[in-house]
Amino acid sequence: MLGIDKKDRNLLVVVAVLALAAPFILNPFPAGSELAQFNAGYPDLMQRFVIFGIFAIGFNILFGLTGYLSFGHAAFLGVGSYSAVWMFKLLSMNVLPAIILSVIVAGLFSLLIGFVSLRRSGIYFSILTLAFAQMSFNLAYSVLTPITNGETGLQLTLNDPRVLGSSATADGSIPVTNLFGLEMRSTYEMEVGAWLFQFNAGYYLCAFIMLAAFYLAMRIFRSPFGMMLRAIKTNQTRLNYTGLNSRPYTLAAFVISGMYAGLAGGLMASMDPLAGAERMQWTASGEVVLMTILGGAGTMLGPVLGAGFIKYFENIFSKINDSVLHGWFAFLPDGMENALVTIVHPFVGKGWHLTLGLLFMAVVIFLPGGLIEGGQRIAKMFKKKKGSSSDDDSEHSPKQAPHVAE
């Protein structure tokens, strides 16, 4: 079915179930309880999980398969966002044309940058992509302000011309993004006992697109084209000696992953119609690199996990402040409560960067294959207990090649 083997089909089903049931899975703690702080099942964060998941899946097609480490992928995401917002401003609030345009524009932009950058390999390639992205960011922030609205970011206004649709709604507000009338922000709230679950239209659109993107990436990974890309990673020189020109393959991979980034950018703008220049900064490019490596480069599921991991820290840990801490430890005697708060304090709230940095180090030191390896080790432990023979999933975690790129 679907042109993939059983193992992959199972993986796809697992991902589909996880994505569709995310509002339940991410909200394990009852609303109002002290642990509700750790709930991530609200629309904005769930959308971010899947959108950055798409971004990382796309990045992994380039990095995981060919080994080419791009440090400028955020530029494609940014370009995608800008095109989507311009589409909202000029054409219609329907997200479909916006997303399509953002994929196309990002594809063309990545074709241009890829064509130039892929003339070099290794770290020289990385620096070329970094240079292009930083140029885009610096220009978007300053001289390109008429197109990008600079520091503030491109926003919708009440005076947008919008050809198909109105500039403003009847009550004088800016119209909201929708898919043929279904508003992206509309949320169905469901109470189950002490729990409150939110089902957001925008999230489900993102989730379905992510599943499609995941399936497509899976097909690419298993296709002859994917094999060719792996061959490039393993030994490009040998490939060249056999008379094959590897450049079209790497360029195709580069453009595909650029289009994934554009798709993510377009979705981001569709969920929240604003495009800021910071999306193109090198830190944003670095973030997707970290997501992919953290989750497990070259694996199907790893980058998605990595994306979720980083976004979770950014959004959940940064919100834990001292009064929340006092709330948690309130059951303890005062002295101990204060001591514990003092110990935990540097790692949460404004110290969330510190925790993230420590976790980066811990993961890479103890789990060389990324988070996915952690999952495999746990799975293996269970399998051993059951006494069944270990079934190493080498397809999903090919051996790390000992170099950035070739």
């Binding site: 600079g150 006092h326 309130a330 404004k350 969330w352």
Partner: protein
């Protein structure tokens, strides 16, 4: 310290215990059951404090958070009451807002539009915040203001100085207490002309982004109106750390004043570099060379050390003011934290009090009601003299301070001295002034 969290969701929970395990679809599309977004139904109300906690403005964000905590204490009737005692409106009782205890959530803007919006969204979607406030840059303020307009909550801007916040990007749900670039120019120019003479030639270095441009435009037109000549306007990259190549040509350009339209780290570095180049000891056109920093922040100016001495600029508020309100605030803040508050702390404290008072007067948390109560509101006793929250653009009009780096500071906080308090009338402009044109407030959005 124990805390009972009784948010809207908490109450929903207690109401729904009976149906445990049974799905009870209650609300469809953006909570049509409530009158407005995140209507507080329990005994508490949640405010969202969205400030930079990482990145270059983290210290400013930390000071804002301190002021917010102080304001919440005062609203809930703890502490000495601070400026609640001097505030001209006496609606606040010290029992929270409209009888509901004030609780808060905090988030990190990272001084990035995206992160700031994500953080504000999580406060609105997850924590049920009915008002968002904070921030330390105009880009973030405008981005979050736009979000709050869409989501249907009130946004009380923190430190944002760009004309655009209440100019071309103004929003019905957004309110700004802080002054703006136009006001800086209007307050500073007469002082500059009086001190340095009317026939000066100015060289502008400007941070190359929206705030820098509005600042440059404001101060240039204000000084030109008084007879100054603008020799050159040079844009510098935001990411620049070493300004030597921009400062070196200044002396040779025929200019005798350098105006640094920089803020934060940019300001610290460009000012330090300018002093390093010995500009202030030079004479050009037979006059002493002068440097001006239109927007001062005491916290940041500290980073420039002794280089700020004698340099003129403007600020929204300074702890050395001797009116009762400022003294009460400094005492309250200083007793709790051991150092005087910054202008960022002052403005966010005022914003929290103003919001609470408006709810109280409106008798509701509905953004439309609160907005109406704030529009055209005249008050006093918050440290800036008589102030008007103008209805046309949601900007506060109040006195602006012209300050100068102190020659002989007595402590590490004593960096600036107030040289003139420019009356509000002198910095007031028409709502349709060209520097503020192009935007519309729109209508208030309660979100339901």
């Amino acid at each position: 310290m124990s805390k009972t969290t009784l948010t809207r969701r908490g109450v929903l929970r207690s109401g729904a215990v009976a149906g445990a395990g049974v799905a009870l679809p209650t609300i469809f599309t953006a909570s049509s059951a409530a009158a407005y977004t995140n209507e507080p139904t329990g005994s508490t109300v949640t405010l969202g404090f969205n400030v930079p906690q990482t990145g270059p403005y983290a210290d400013e964000g930390a000071d804002e958070l301190r002021a917010y905590q102080l304001a919440v204490e005062h609203l809930n009737g703890e502490g000495d009451g601070g400026m609640m005692n001097t505030f001209s409106s006496k609606e606040l009782q010290g029992n929270g807002i409209l009888g509901k205890k004030v609780e808060f959530v905090t988030g990190d803007t990272q001084t990035k539009s995206d992160a700031a919006r994500a953080s504000a969204k999580s406060m609105i979607e997850k924590d049920g915040a009915v008002m968002i406030t904070g921030g330390s840059s105009s880009g973030v303020a405008i981005a979050v203001q736009g979000l709050c307009q869409e989501a249907g909550v009130i946004f009380m801007a923190g430190l944002t100085h760009s004309n655009d916040t209440t100019g071309k990007d103004k929003k019905a749900n957004g309110f700004r207490h802080f002054f703006n670039a136009y006001m800086s120019g209007a307050a500073l120019a007469p002082v500059l002309a009086a001190r340095y003479g009317a026939d000066r030639k100015a060289y502008h270095l400007t941070a190359d982004y929206t705030w820098g441009w509005t600042q440059e435009e404001s101060i240039a037109s204000a000084t030109e109106a008084l007879g100054w000549e603008t020799v050159e306007k040079v844009r510098t990259p935001l990411a620049a750390t070493d300004f030597s190549s921009y400062i070196a040509p200044v002396l040779n350009s025929g200019a005798d004043v350098l105006i640094l339209n920089h803020y934060g780290g940019n300001m610290v570095n460009s000012l330090t570099n300018a002093v390093q180049f010995g500009l202030r000891e030079k004479e050009v056109n037979g006059k002493n060379f002068e440097i001006v920093v239109p927007l001062y922040s005491r916290l940041m100016a500290k980073g420039a050390g002794a280089n700020v001495k004698g340099i003129l600029g403007s600020t929204n508020w300074h702890w050395s003011l001797q009116d009762d309100a400022s003294k009460a605030f400094v005492k309250s803040f200083g007793t709790k934290y051991g150092f005087p508050p910054s202008q960022a702390a002052h403005t966010v404290y005022c914003q929290t009090l103003l919001y609470a008072d408006a709810c109280q007067r409106a008798g509701t948390f509905n953004p439309c009601g609160v907005g109406q109560a704030l529009e055209g509101f005249e008050f006093d006793g918050l440290g800036n003299g008589p102030t008007l929250y103008r209805a046309d653009d949601h900007q506060c009009f109040k006195d602006v301070l012209v300050v100068q780096g102190k020659e002989n500071p007595t402590s590490e906080f004593d960096l600036l001295e107030v040289v003139e308090v420019t009356p509000a009338a002198q910095v007031t402009y028409d709502p349709d002034h060209p520097m503020f044109a192009g935007g519309q407030l729109g209508t208030c959005n309660p979100g339901a």
